[in-house]
Amino acid sequence: MNPFALIGRFTIAFLSEIGRLAEFAADALPSIITPPIYLRLTGEQMMRIGYYSLPVVGLTAFFTGGALALQIFIGGDRYGAESFVPQIVVLGITRELGPVMAGLMVAGRVSAAIAAELGTMRVTEQIDALVTLSTNPFKYLVAPRLVAAVITMPLLVAVADIIGVFGGWVVGTQSLGFNSSVYLKNTADFVTNSDVISGLWKAAAFGFIIALMGCYHGYHSKGGAQGVGGATTNAVVSAAILILATNYVMTSLLFSR
């Protein structure tokens, strides 16, 4: 195999995938604002995407906050900076780890579920059936999931922020010898609105990515069980990578001086 041909083929495949995705997003976005808008379906999706993700996101945030507190204490010890645990925990959780960890966990849960559901609907002709019943699949299937994910992800991350800080406080007070009220006061004095809000913006963007990847890969899946399996994997992997890349871009934009 000619290596140049290989590079060319890979590049073309990559670019055409981006093109298809952009086309999909361009079809999906207008369907969010044009009637009919399926409020009941959007509500159902908010339950499935947001509410049912609470346990997994909460646990992730708790242990991440705890581990962060330990690491900062041990690392800070080298410079005599171990007393900064509360400040760095709250900063790390609200700005980076809250949105990113929640985003990755929800990507695993929700992108996969959406891709599997829409993929199965595709291969069993249920999506075609929607069209024959005068229902636009973008409005009926894609728009409710996109809206639900964009609305619920910031709420989930707000909860994750609180639980993450709580995780740090538990470790700080129980095993690192911090005084509880001093820990909480340092946290509250240090954190600013913009720390939290920047994380919530990220969460909304990640929510969009999660739902879009699930819908896109599910909607275009073909070839039976194997195709749906592949769509599910691709949805999770691409959502996770896009979340991490978007996180870097948003960090550099939101915190540039």
Partner: protein
């Protein structure tokens, strides 16, 4: 003669380098039942999907009631699709909804009926295909294949369409259930006076539900005529197909 309800002219469709439809010409008159027969992979399903706008042909014209539908906006497409009902090969019932909501789907989503009213109509339609009220509350996955087909039929006729498509209506059913479905199709079609276009490779079904039969082979209509004439078509491809012979001009691509 009345203008055709559906008219296809030199419709071409290819997937990659494979030509699936190679210039299809077809007309369906109002109130007529046309059945397209042909082997697997000859482009029968693609023809239906082109008419529904699920697949866009590269070339050719498709008219529904005289309106060109190959390049419609999605809003206009939805309006045209209100004329259609379709029974899918695998029934394609929505497994997230109970049976009655499947049947009532077009009424609630497309026509904006209230749920209670739509449910009444859905139960009437279910009765029409011989299913009781209790079935309406079940989930599609709890039904047998034959029952799913009947629910699919009830869903296809629920919004009183002008045109109904049947995609392999008897495939995968036992001979008796197949005949029940055929009977139901003939009966509902006669009752409603609708135009139907069916695709099948089941000749018993084709003879039962068709007024006219067209045979599709390698992306072209190679014969079309009244069903009474199919036994004296004089076309050796048609003869081979309707008698189900392995030997003849149609060669299966089998490595021996």
């Amino acid at each position: 003669m009345a203008p055709p309800k559906i008219e296809l002219k030199s419709v071409m469709k290819r997937f990659g380098s494979k030509v699936v439809l190679d210039g299809i010409d077809l007309g369906v008159q109002p109130g007529e039942s046309l059945v397209i027969i042909g082997g697997s992979g000859t482009g029968k399903s693609v023809t239906l999907k082109c008419i529904l706008g699920l697949i866009h042909p590269e070339r050719g014209s498709i008219k529904v009631d005289g309106l060109e539908v190959t390049r419609l906006s999605s809003g206009a497409r939805e309006k045209v699709n209100r004329k259609f009902g379709m029974l899918f090969q695998g029934s394609a019932l929505f497994d997230s909804l109970p049976v009655w909501e499947n049947v009532a789907f077009a009424l609630i989503q497309g026509h904006g009926l209230g749920r209670a009213e739509a449910k009444q109509i859905a139960l009437q339609k279910l009765a029409k295909v011989g299913l009781s009220k209790d079935v309406g509350e079940l989930s599609p996955s709890e039904l047998s294949g034959g029952m799913q087909k009947r629910v699919g039929l009830a869903r296809a006729i629920a919004a009183d369409p002008e045109i109904i498509f049947f995609d392999e209506p008897t495939t995968g059913l036992d001979p008796i259930m197949a005949d029940v479905i055929n009977e139901l199709i003939v009966k509902t079609v006669k009752d409603m006076g609708v135009t139907t276009l069916s695709i099948t490779h089941d000749m018993i079904s084709a003879r039962k539900i068709a007024d006219k039969i067209a045979m599709l082979y390698k992306g072209k209509i190679i014969w079309a005529g009244r069903k009474e004439d199919i036994d004296k078509s004089g076309n050796e491809f048609v003869d081979q197909f309707i008698h189900g012979r392995a030997e003849g001009p149609i060669k299966m691509e089998i490595v021996r």
